[in-house]
Symmetry: C2
Subunit: 141 residues, 2 copies
Amino acid sequence: MDIKRLEEVFRQHNLKVTPQRIAIYQELINSSEHPSAINIYERIKAQYPNISLDTVNRTLLTFAEIGLVRIVEGRGDPKRFDPNLHPHHHFRCIKCGKIIDFYNEEYDALDVPSTLKDRFIITSKRVNLEGICDECQTRSD
Amino acid sequence: MDIKRLEEVFRQHNLKVTPQRIAIYQELINSSEHPSAINIYERIKAQYPNISLDTVNRTLLTFAEIGLVRIVEGRGDPKRFDPNLHPHHHFRCIKCGKIIDFYNEEYDALDVPSTLKDRFIITSKRVNLEGICDECQTRSD
DNA sequence: TGCTAATTAGGAGTGAATCCTATATATTGC
DNA sequence: GCAATATATAGGATTCACTCCTAATTAGCA
Ligand SMILES: [Mn+2]
Ligand SMILES: [Mn+2]
Ligand SMILES: [Zn+2]
Ligand SMILES: [Zn+2]
């Protein structure tokens, strides 16, 4: 998503176009490891030495609210953010915490059981795999 | 799982059989809403007024390590624990945080893509649905 | 029954997230 | 462009969920 389009999205949601918001989004799409708010905060300080963690965090949560990013599913540790809105799934390493995207049409096409569809509004369906990544297997040999 | 079997499991893992461990496990299987450590702590204080949160938390994490419970996947808020080890999946309400079990053989039978199987050791495969539960739909009408 | 290593209670410490509020700024209407 | 104003931000305080520390307790074993 280019900046023009990003600014449009902000305006569509009555969010002011601020340099901080743009920088935070850019930092997020420039990283592929599903960073946390603090990751983004540390990196963005090079550009904006005075930015506050609260701004980064609040902004990322706002992005999640308007559907511009997703919060990755995990097991209770710091929230990690994902700017990739294409249907995809995750593998998470239980040793090092790395989260790797993968694409799979069978998973995308899974039906939601009608007992659930009838009772709930389903807004997200993801397959999450966990295990030990290649690097961690080597490391612990 | 009855207490006899639970004590066996503890011993198999060289964990001492303590009343706290048993009480924490019982409290967990008596609840179906995937409670957090603090939920369990609050409830168990009726029985053990002096139990510490650290004990509850440490014990639940130990249980997770030996595979006696699972930590539910969520979006970064307090860890929630699940004593149900049968293959099953979760629907989580994004409004009230309720987590509901469901069983689905199609989901259980999903193949892991070989590109992942070759590279990683897969220890868990779950389908997570999110959305708005029936009660929250009514409430916000 | 006594020894020893594991476990616990309770308090301190940590780190992420959130709240508070004075200041700054993007947007709107002139 | 300029002023008005509603929104957003910085920075510090606070909250909350853990996590660590250590002395006292206890389970398991000889
Ligand atoms: Mn992703
Ligand atoms: Mn469950
Ligand atoms: Zn790893
Ligand atoms: Zn709900």
